[in-house]
Amino acid sequence: MSARSPLGEIAVRKPGAQRMGFFTDTTVCIGCKACEVACKQWNDLPADGSEFRKGGSYDHTGTLSAATWRHVRFVEALAPSPALQREAEAALARGIGGNVPNIPAAGGMPSVEALGGAGGGVAEHEMVDLVGIAETEAQPQMDRWLFMSDVCKHCTNAGCLDACPTGALVRTEFETVILQPDVCNGCGYCIPSCPFGVIDRDPYDGRAAKCTLCYDRLEDGLEPACAKACPTDSIQFGPYDELVETAKGRVVALHEKGIETAYLYGAGDAPEQQIAGNLGAFFLLTEPPERFGLPAQADSPIQENAPVATATGLAAAALAVAGTVASMLIAHRRARR
């Protein structure tokens, strides 16, 4: 029951199936992390380890990983403050902040997290000197505390899938992208091919792992675990086209309420502005995407440069053979012990 998708990808096909997706509305997220836990519970994923992270607000899992397929980001956004603005610009000049491309002009609200670099757990020397700012500025005011549940985007143009030499990554009949652990050989090519940094290798068995959009649950007509658990329906699941319509309506409603910065990330864009050909898991944001560690532009590397990608694919294929042989040898050796 598998076939090529219109893109020529490996895909599972089932009659009557339609594209399914996630719509994550950050304006109603309460940062409770139910999605993180519900995901781990359903998928039997281990904890990543209990590490206290500096500078990440209430985020102590830090990033999406092989064992964390939903991850809640926390952004402590301060009200405009000249001193902070100066600090932010200086930070940028020093090249701090990872892929943070711009700090909003005066009137915008640079966030603690964005200044310190996307994601939690930034190195100490990169931290913005909050104390220093506090001393120079009378009282910078907390403006907003923003929460956003991040997840695999299930891209239309899926870099991971394009890069995978073994066919471990496939598109399902729901047009989601899943990684088949029983096929993956751990080559890791998918990892840099994901423009969002979603995929990670399991430190124990070396194989890649990521959100499946609960493919197993979908097969039985069940809602994915994270969306089901979400107390405030910040994560919504449903037929993709319907979700996009819902999301567009939500943006309009927010604009009417005066929240004019609301926009969709990864859905409903004009063709030339689409992110990875549109995202199966898209977001409603009220801040620039970089605030949440999302790139402003993204696509599958293979879309960007097909010939290079082909060469990469061929090389990957060769390596895949080697990898498969190696893993067979390892397995053989283990079995002998």
């Binding site: 029951m1 073994t166 089901k228 063709p271 010939p307």
Partner: protein, 191 residues
Amino acid sequence: MGESHRPKGFKRLRGLPVVGRAADWGMGPHAVSKNTKTAGSRIAGLKATESVCPYCAVGCGQIVYTRDGELVDIEGNPNSPINQGTLCPKGSASRQLIQQPGRLTKVKYRRPGGTEWEELDLETAMDMIAERVIRAREDHWQTHDEHGWKVDRTMGFAHLGGATLDNEENYLIKKFFSAMGAVQIENQARI
């Protein structure tokens, strides 16, 4: 899903003879694994029992899935008008509460002055506790308090209950300990 309007380099590439096939090497329909083909939720067909979350007092409905008496999954109950299938992180983790590392299955006993836990048979422990609570009751029985007022009680033992106990359990605690004459019966409700 709408057709993408971007140049589909890879797609075009695949259309080419030889190179296209090379690009497809190791892929193809057979790469969809057996597990993927037979995928399904692990709770399909399992016994589902309706329960209530043990954490805060919102009272979210839970559905507990078991296979042959083994706990497989706990999720929110979609029928509950309280949570409509949702759960917070604690409620979502409640399977791990039941299956937690270090879950006690035997009585542990620490003797006076002892430095380590020992294990006790349940019946033996119950007998020992009954003997001690009777002795405490008798040793500290008061018919009258310091004002000479009638009190008919024991001050020898006390109880502190948590608020994850069932009402039926609290009822038996209050009923039985009151019958023994205990008054120092307390609960998390005050704390």
